[in-house]
Symmetry: C2
Subunit: 332 residues, 2 copies
Amino acid sequence: MEKNKQYRLAKRPTGLPTEDVWEYVESDIPQPGDGEILLKTQFISLDPAMRGWMNPVRSYIPPVEIGDVMRAGTISEVLSSNHENFKPGMLVSGMMGVQTHGISDGKGLFPIDTTIAPAQRYLGVLGLTGMTAYFGLLEVGQLKEGDVVVVSGAAGAVGSVVGQIAKIKGCKTIGIAGGPEKCQQLIEEYRYDEAIDYKSDNIRRALHKAAPDGIDVYFDNVGGDILDTVLTKIRMRARIVICGAISQYNNTTPVQGPSNYLSLLVNRARMEGFVVFDYAKQYRQAAADMAGWMASGELKAREHIVEGIETFPDRLLMLFDGRNDGKLILKV
Amino acid sequence: MEKNKQYRLAKRPTGLPTEDVWEYVESDIPQPGDGEILLKTQFISLDPAMRGWMNPVRSYIPPVEIGDVMRAGTISEVLSSNHENFKPGMLVSGMMGVQTHGISDGKGLFPIDTTIAPAQRYLGVLGLTGMTAYFGLLEVGQLKEGDVVVVSGAAGAVGSVVGQIAKIKGCKTIGIAGGPEKCQQLIEEYRYDEAIDYKSDNIRRALHKAAPDGIDVYFDNVGGDILDTVLTKIRMRARIVICGAISQYNNTTPVQGPSNYLSLLVNRARMEGFVVFDYAKQYRQAAADMAGWMASGELKAREHIVEGIETFPDRLLMLFDGRNDGKLILKV
């Protein structure tokens, strides 16, 4: 008989979320109660932000508690429903977590339209990944035509979209990524004007060459030394968008603060954080823009699909050692 | 015969600007050429920013070069003039530096009106000090009525004015300063609602008590550990105004970056620097506001006047060991 397979948080990680932080549980498939829906997971989104949710700290959402199913974005199929808005066979996006089956009361579930795009894209460009790039760059970064834009994690799920939107908006784009393959991808696939390989280039020199007059917008996914180096190259009234800090998420030592932050003073510049959920009311318009750019070929999105819920612990680690190539999605 | 007495930069300081970085020079009083003015200095402004001007780095103004008269804000009397806009006996504010006499072509000199306020006030509340507080808080900090405002260096020249403007605007004000005397001054003279003594209080606990629901605006004059601690207590959409970082100016090790900067992300908050010169077009309106608040008794400014240009090297150090009590001004 089919079972519900789940990954639960067994203990809080110190550093990388290694295999031993997970408890794998098989149990009977639950039955939906009054007003409830039984869902079967098709795709699970694997995101750097998940590492933050595992820490027992005040954040923009509560931490995942020990014993809880690990939180994750999902695309699911409705198997059976006692809820008038959801019918068997419908596909919905939500946050059902790392499990094959789940029960929902419908809150936070959104039907998706697979005639426009394949289901998994609603975890990528048409989902929170794309929305993060869109609102972070355009709203927080206050992008203007002609800006010089630097993106770290530039070949990643969010970074690759940021670079392309900036290009569409008439900016010069400089991407920072690790290794020659990713840098080639930046130029050939994501249309970056310049690519910097943080593993082999001297970032300061490379930035100076690529942006001799300085940087207007820096979209930061990584933090650490790269943030600190970019701070030395910002222009007057620059905007630094703090989207993430993947270089710091698995630190067992304190987070490395940007020691060049006084560059903000000299340059009358700003560093600002954001959480994509705040823009929920504008998702529809953003998704329409994104779908349009994809249709016209201006926006390309690479999905890196891996299979098998049993492989979850190792797949998650791919995000932190750079093994993913675009938006990482676990197909159940 | 009277001589021109000057302090010139003899070498770049490492750490504190000790006596040996200065060269004291006496020379003949210069004569004004065509279109020029001879000025006699009455008051010299001593400011933390002067330390930054001594470093050989790209900044919002060029560094003071070795051999140059040290840059400083001044109030001077016109002694003789070959310039139609300036007559002997006029008092002007400017940047004539640490010297008793100087020649100017009139650029950057502004006549001051001593029927409104005593001359030295144009180096304080009605000068760049006051303008820094005003525009930093209201424009960069985007102050709103009801905000919870924290100020570091709260008894200092800028900080004491920031706290009072925030109070006038209907905010809760929390000042951080060093020692019981300064903390008493915060409450009794500058009307802060709460005072935190960074020398004896646990800042984190004291902030938690003073601002249990978090902080909306932090006006930072000091950087370092205090900035890092405040970051743990900011509220959603908080604004951190980077005005200075006096705790870091004399470092011989790298500047301490704020390791809690990811709080900006979680709280959708912003950290922004500014330079007061950018608001020059609005100085007049700001000075009118400030003069009005002083007249009504809502705004109090403490000037700490010390005498004798020969004492300059030691007086400057007062800023860095907390010996100044309000706006530090050297009377020549």
